[in-house]
Amino acid sequence: MSDVINYAGLCSMLHGATAQIRANHEMLSRLDAATGDGDHGTTILRAMEAVSKTATEHTGTDAKSLLAAVGWAVMSCDGGSTGPLLGSFFTGMSDASDGVDEWNSAKLASVIESGVAKMAKQSRAKVGDKTMMDAFLPAVDALKAADRALAPKAALQQAAAAAAQGAEATKAMRAKFGRARNLGDRVIGHPDPGAVSISLILKGFSEGL
């Protein structure tokens, strides 16, 4: 198990995430049908297909420019709020991935933290608001807390586990953002589709490596 992520590794991380969404988009739309308007699976799949397409077609071999291109491609998907949110995540990863082209666990943590921080600016949601942040924020904490000796793949596994827990926890929540917000108590018992997507994306990252 390699202890750094290079450009090729980054690409397979991204493809791994897309694979997870491809396998689960119908389930994600069903979840959104319960708490929103039933299109989240379609939207997030469109976004992740754009991620893989960009990774495949990108010329150049540096993480920074690839992730910038990925962020731009995701934002170009006309995906309501999902496009800007997920797009900022990748753009934020790009911002932090300057110079260094071989990421160890520490660097990976800081890159993902920067992505989530950028997304948080648009999101304004905290843990407990029943959004993607309920998966992302615990994942970042897990990465930061992870043993520095741990290989990136293992660190990502812990992050994905934390995200999955966070997504599971959204079942108990009322939504403070998005369409689910208008449904009040009616969404209690249903997990937030966006949070589930994020946990799948992180799972895909680790499996891609």
Partner: protein, 331 residues
Amino acid sequence: MKKFINDPKNLTRELLEGFAIAHSDVVTVKSEKIVCRAQAKSTDKVAIVTLGGAGHEPALSGFVGTGMLDYSVVGDIFAAPGPPKVFEALRMANRKAGILFVVLNHAGDVMSANMAAEMADKEGIPYKMILTHEDIAPGADAPAEDRRGLVGCIPLYKIAGAAAEAGKSLDEVYAIAQRFNENMATLAVAMNTATHPASGQKIFELAEDEMEIGMGQHGEAGTGPSKIMTADQTADVMLTRLLLAIKAKAGDRVMLLINGSGATTLMEMFIVLRACKMILDAKGITLSVARCGEFLTVQEMAGFQMFAAKMDDELLRYWNAPCNTPSLTIG
């Protein structure tokens, strides 16, 4: 699903192509989803730019043309366009005179607009952003972020557009538009649901004997269902709340729009307007502008948005100024 469509994937592209065919004298579509005027306005005048999802036809792009919008960025059905497209439009509109950037308060639209605005800042494109959130369903004094942007953006385009046409500076156009923005309110009512043209799903459910006041533009719940009322009762409940929200009193002049959501007939809108006129007369409020029609729809939803705004001489002058767009022509 009972709609005249082809592959749902191509809804926006195909409808914009047809739109451009029907109105080639007034509009053209650039880079697939940016609607702009066939004859561009002189660049020493302020440009008006907006964005929003498709599926609300004629809104928003039906109001691109002389005296109203310069650029309208179209997203997918009920989904905001992405920041890059919006930025592209701001670039097209870029001019020394500046851009009035009109954004309706919906999560996706606001995120795209903010990110596009950041990009514009980096390039030093001069603009001022105005956010419409005139929905009073959550209460007239609910926090701004809870109040959605409904049909009010359209008369606002008209008034800002006329001020821009008149050669006002960006600060002046912004001030006029903002004054109108602060004096307007909308309340929606739904009686029957609509079908999402991409997913084929109903966007909400209402019982056979129910209507819902406060229903949003995408089936977002309102103040809860109530039994169906007569046109006169409905007008009374809604107009009373609106007049309170805009603090209209005897002697004031107001504009009223009865904006059909899709399946509600002009016949019904006229009957509702008639009821509103009687209420205004009783209160000694002058009805200076009254319009019934479909400006911003929600597919084939049955219902309407009632819009009210407090007017003054300047606002009335700009409302009555000539405009020529696919869906609003004032001669």
